[in-house]
């Protein structure tokens, strides 16, 4: 199905499908809800205003994920520069209380995982976030990041290796 990004109907369709993914990407790169909301808003405004024709909804989705990822990484870079001068007041993300059944991991582990993701080097972080939180395959990640599939494979592996060692250090029972 062809998507024209400035047509309201197409826009709404893409928005409904893609917003959660894009929000997750922004959040797991920045770990700040307000910043992520701004980033997603900016990405969708660009999407609407550029008036681009996409061959499919997936093409539109990859475009949006790429823009969001770039915006989010820029925010993180800027933030880390600012942090060098001013002590950052860390915004602890609000953790909703989950019912025991559907919770895959407890909130403490979740916080530690998120802190570990935050510490990953930029290139590995981008790949891991797209793999674990945007549910994309290697080919899709490769096309979004404009790198080769084998490069994605290597980065996923490296990112997981670092994640494992960081979570081990935190003495998390990963099993």
């Amino acid at each position: 199905m062809e998507i024209k990004s400035s047509e309201n109907e197409s826009f709404r369709l893409v928005y409904k499908e893609v917003f959660p993914v894009v929000m997750r990407v922004a959040y797991h790169v920045t770990y700040n809800m307000d910043v992520s909301e701004d980033i997603c808003q900016e990405a969708f405004i660009r999407f609407y205003e550029k008036n681009i024709d996409f061959r499919s909804i997936d093409e539109a989705k990859y475009w949006l994920i790429r823009v969001t990822k770039n915006l989010a990484i820029n925010v993180v870079k800027r933030k880390s520069r600012e942090r060098a001068m001013v002590d950052k007041i860390k915004k602890v993300p609000k953790m909703p209380i989950r019912s025991g059944e559907d919770a895959l991991i407890d909130s403490e582990t979740r916080t530690l995982v998120r802190e570990a993701v935050e510490k990953l080097p930029e290139k590995l972080k981008a790949v891991l976030v797209l793999k674990e939180y945007a549910d994309l395959n290697y080919k899709q990640i490769a096309s979004i990041l404009k790198i080769s599939e084998s490069n994605v494979k290597v980065r996923v592996h490296r990112a997981r290796k670092i994640m494992e060692s960081m979570l081990d250090r935190e003495d998390i029972h990963v099993s």
Binding site: F44, Y48, Y133, V156
Partner: protein, 186 residues
Amino acid sequence: MCLDDQILNTYLDGELTEPWRTQVEEHLTYCVACKTRFEQLRSLHITVSGARLDDAEIAPHADKVLQFIEKNYMEKKLKVGFFQRDFRMKTPTLLAVAAAFVFVLVGAFMVNPGVQSQSGELIPRVPSSTEGTLVQVRATEGLAAAQVLENFPLEEILKYLDSRGYEVDLRLKTIVPISDEGETTP
């Protein structure tokens, strides 16, 4: 030979192609060490992806951003000015409009051919010589002189033009009205 982490991760993500996939599957059935390592990597994957942002946490932000875009972008686009409007029409309609325009334009000239004959009356007629000899026309004497426009008083010309149905607007250009203020100021 046992499997390394990268192959296991690729297999875990379902990205390993044949024939390696079958080989890995087979290996995992009997190699306890690799099977244990694979399970560790799988639980790491579950733990990491389990830390994802919930749909419930996303929903209010999704609504908020959509409302913002609807209000500031979608609604504004609807208010298009007259000249920005799209005047596209289908070819038969366009041809019909063009034909009607040409018809009206040509018809106007055909119905009203009197423009030239009217202007002819205003130009003073000089009697043409029937014998073919040269006739000198002078403004000061004879019939020609009598018919020169400047021999008529302005009122008569106006009356004549009025009777022919012309509306004449006379204006004096060079005379500047004397202002009262200019007189009183020293």
